[in-house]
């Protein structure tokens, strides 16, 4: 009985997202002591809603990182997709066609990123860095000073409620289930982790490396399109500089959650836990009226703490196993 318990404990602690999860609960505990209105249903719901956008994209980028590639174009792509969503929504007056357009836009740019990074043989960090600048630049060129304002029916994915829960949360749950299913029940989901884990072995059994990796980029692009619908739905308005620097928060969420930046190792819960951690901290800063420019500072500190904690944990595990 004791042994079984121990095994479970070891299994739990060898999961990549565990240290951050422990840290997250610890943090929530500390914050709730100092902040009176932190542990309220309304506030927690607020945090959840806040992390939906980052989580959705981080889940997709998590797959790219599994395959030992990276996508840093998501900030600009999110903004572009949000613009597409906004423009189409204003034409049609509803949310659904706009969503389709936004998804399509993300899909196309994801495909482009993926194609260049794999068949084009350009390192993905360079491809997506270029894409990051091109998209942002394009946005600033074509819409300088434009602010889109959306009205209620176009903001379904950010403002809507079904059975008392925000639609955005449902969106996140769908994406979580989708990626969990991909990883455990589909060829593609397994292949992408295999390729990141040992590319030589993947070649030796004839895995379609380029195709699998390219699809991971298509995923991250398309999810930018999906997240854009939520993002714009929540914000209600957008200008050309929106979501600047967002791509790094996405990577931060993935890495914080314990997915290895070198590929092949990680978990689909990593980005969620990482995003929640970011969300909780930002929320605590706001509640305690700490000026927003502390945000980046704290975030950076957090990454360093989390990563060092992970090293410490590994040392403990190595001693034991």
């Amino acid at each position: 009985m004791k042994k079984k318990y121990n095994n479970l404990l070891i299994k739990f602690f060898s999961r990549p997202e565990t240290p951050v999860l422990v840290f997250l609960f610890f943090l929530i505990f500390i914050i709730s002591i100092f902040t009176s209105n932190f542990l309220t249903v309304a506030n927690l719901k607020g945090i959840l809603e806040q992390v939906v956008v980052i989580s959705i994209i981080a889940l997709a980028v998590n797959q790219v990182i599994y395959g030992a590639e990276i996508d840093i174009s998501t900030g600009s792509l999110l903004a572009v997709c949000a613009f597409v969503y906004g423009l189409v929504a204003m034409e049609t007056g509803g949310s659904w066609i706009a969503l389709l357009a936004s998804l399509l836009c993300g899909f196309i740019f994801g495909l482009f990123n993926g194609f260049l990074s794999t068949y084009g043989k350009v390192p993905s960090i360079i491809v997506t860095l270029g894409m990051l600048f091109i998209l942002r630049g394009g946005l600033l060129l074509s819409n300088p000073g434009t602010v889109l304002n959306l009205i209620e029916p176009m903001r379904f994915f950010g403002m809507g409620n079904i059975f008392g829960l925000p639609v955005s949360i449902y969106c996140l749950i769908i994406v979580i289930i989708f990626y969990h299913f991909l990883s455990f029940n589909t060829l593609w989901g397994r292949n992408i982790i295999a390729i990141g884990g040992n590319p030589r072995a993947a070649v030796n059994i004839g895995l379609p490396i380029n195709k699998v990796r390219m699809l991971s980029f298509v995923g991250s692009g398309t999810m930018c399109g999906f997240a854009a619908a939520v993002y714009l739905g929540q914000a209600g308005q957008i200008q050309a500089t929106a979501a600047t620097g967002f791509e790094l928060k996405v990577i931060a969420a993935v890495v914080l959650g314990g997915t290895s930046i070198a590929g092949g190792r990680g978990s689909n819960f990593s980005p969620i836990v990482g995003a929640l951690l970011v969300g909780v901290i930002l929320n605590a800063l706001t509640l305690n009226r700490i000026p927003p420019y502390y945000e980046l500072f704290v975030l950076g500190l957090l990454i360093l703490i989390a990563v060092s904690f992970d090293g410490f944990r590994r040392k403990l595990l190595e001693k034991d196993v």
């Binding site: 060829l187 397994r190 040992n198 072995a201």
Partner: protein, 498 residues
């Protein structure tokens, strides 16, 4: 007591609960002695050595060096006490020069401007290399050296740091006969200078040649430790395995069917030229030769990993084109790569995922993986291949080398191939696991598969094969039928003497 440089007292090392990597090991190393440390893979040789070298801290027991009990927290501590470890693979820095490698980790004297004073170091290095009887250009990057010379640099580095005990793990794995002789000469010289050695090797001939005494480990425990004259080769193997030698090689008679694969005039760049060979159903064909003869390249070409520049491949008398690995798999060819860790397995993956890596399509309908079927298959295979040491849901990296290899074999044949190319299927695998792998290969042939067995162990090729091709410098230089097998002849053909 003066003669004894190092004593291990009841060294035990446990990983997790009740998993002993080594248990109550006692060892005495005399001044100027060479201990040959032998045992199957996973017998605990490296664990014992790592405890001595400070890479592991022993769970219980003590280490005494020069009459003083010591506690090593890291290799740096042990090196200060004169204990050096030379691992199987190169442990130095290929991009740095020889002299930089020699003095790495040491304080380097500076001249009056503040630059490193290489002149002083050169003198030291010169002295050491003279003692070893070799000379190098000190400013050559280490990567340009041959494996043997790199080994010498590692020995020299130990000597510069006044090593008293040098631990060598499979030092001759990548060396030629001549280079091995040179290394042995040096070891014998150093013995006279009161340097002691712990020499780990799978090659028993070498152990008998170089060691003064032999220590056998099995399942983490010390079985016997005695002067080498007290052992015979078969006795030693018995101690290692716990069962007699003649059971290790296993080949049952079987029927050989009609021709299934034929290769005509196959060439690939400069690696091999005009290769002709054929495989029949139910036949094990050995491919002997030295490392670098082009055997692996030939195998990889047949498997579609390389594009052949000319030649033809026939399967069942029909000419086919193999342009990719997937083509090869479709024609029923499977290939087991020689380096299981870097080319075969995905180490962070579980045993389940590794084993079905190549055959996952069999458990998939419309892209949906049937996990239940998959686990059922893996359970069956791991029982069949007696994979022991970890649960199938744990990472494959937790298994010992032999069991990892069995997972790789299981993975390779999971695609239900008809033609199986095995590239060094028993490399770095202990004797017990070898026997099990031989049995698996034998079974595969009995089921009517054609097997191409690439192996650098002559004994293995001769006992397993029905027919042998010998390759030398990219060409097939000889073909031997079962009744013509002759170790000397095959060895001389692969060396290019005949």
């Amino acid at each position: 007591m003066e003669d004894i440089v190092c004593i291990l007292n009841n060294i035990s090392k446990t990983f997790g609960e009740n998993v002993f990597a080594c248990k109550n090991v006692n060892l005495k190393l005399n001044c100027g002695e060479v201990i040959g440390l032998v045992g199957e893979n996973g017998a605990g040789k490296s664990t014992v050595v790592k405890c001595l070298y400070g890479l592991h801290s022993p769970s219980s027991g003590s280490i005494v060096i020069a009459d003083k009990e010591v506690l090593f927290k890291s290799p740096k501590d042990s090196e200060q006490h004169g204990v050096f470890f030379i691992p199987q693979e190169l442990d130095l820095f290929p991009e740095l020069t020889i002299i930089e490698n020699l003095f790495i980790g040491k304080k380097i004297p500076r001249n009056w401007i503040g630059n490193f004073d290489w002149k002083v170091l050169e003198k030291q290095a010169d002295e050491i290399f003279n003692n070893l009887g070799v000379s190098f250009d000190f400013y050559m990057p280490l990567k340009l050296l041959s494996a043997a010379n790199a080994k010498l640099v590692e020995i020299a580095r130990a000597l510069i740091n006044e090593a008293k005990i040098i631990i060598m793990d499979e030092p001759t794995a990548a060396l030629t006969q001549k280079e091995v002789k040179k290394i042995f000469e040096i070891i014998n010289n150093l013995k006279k200078k009161k340097v002691s050695f712990i020499y780990i090797s799978h090659r028993l001939d070498e152990i008998f040649e170089i060691a003064d005494s032999i220590t056998v480990l099995r399942d983490g425990e010390l079985i016997i430790s005695d002067h080498k004259n007290k052992f015979t080769k078969s006795k030693l193997v018995q101690y290692m395995v716990g069962r007699p030698l003649d059971q290790i090689f296993y080949r049952t008679k079987n029927k050989i069917g009609k021709k299934i694969l034929e290769v005509k005039h196959l060439s690939y760049e400069n690696n091999f030229k005009e290769v002709n060979l054929e495989l029949k159903k139910g036949e094990i064909v050995g491919l002997a030769g030295l490392i670098g003869a082009g055997r692996s390249e030939l195998a990889q070409t047949i498997f579609g990993l390389r594009k052949y520049s000319s030649g033809e491949i026939y399967i069942n008398e029909k000419k086919i084109n193999i342009n990719s690995v997937n083509d090869a798999i479709k024609f029923g060819i499977a290939y087991l790569p020689e380096e299981r860790r870097s080319q075969g397995l995905i180490l962070p993956f579980t045993i389940i995922w590794n084993m079905t890596l190549s055959s996952i399509k069999n458990f998939t309908s419309f892209g949906y993986i049937n996990n239940h079927e998959e686990i059922k298959f893996v359970k069956k295979s791991s029982e069949k291949f007696t994979i022991k040491g970890a649960k199938i849901s744990s990472p494959v990296s937790q298994l010992s080398g032999g069991n990892q290899q069995k997972v790789l074999v299981a993975k390779t044949i999971a695609t239900k191939p008809k033609i199986i190319i095995l590239d060094e299927p028993t490399r770095g695998v202990d004797v017990g696991a070898k026997a099990e792998i031989y049995k698996i290969i034998d079974d595969l042939a009995n089921q009517g598969n054609a097997i191409l067995l690439i192996s650098s162990e002559l004994n293995e090729v001769i006992s397993m094969s029905d027919r042998i091709y010998v390759m030398h410098e990219g060409k097939i230089k000889g073909e031997f039928q079962k009744n013509e097998f002759n170790a000397e002849k095959i060895a001389s053909v692969s060396a290019g003497i005949i």
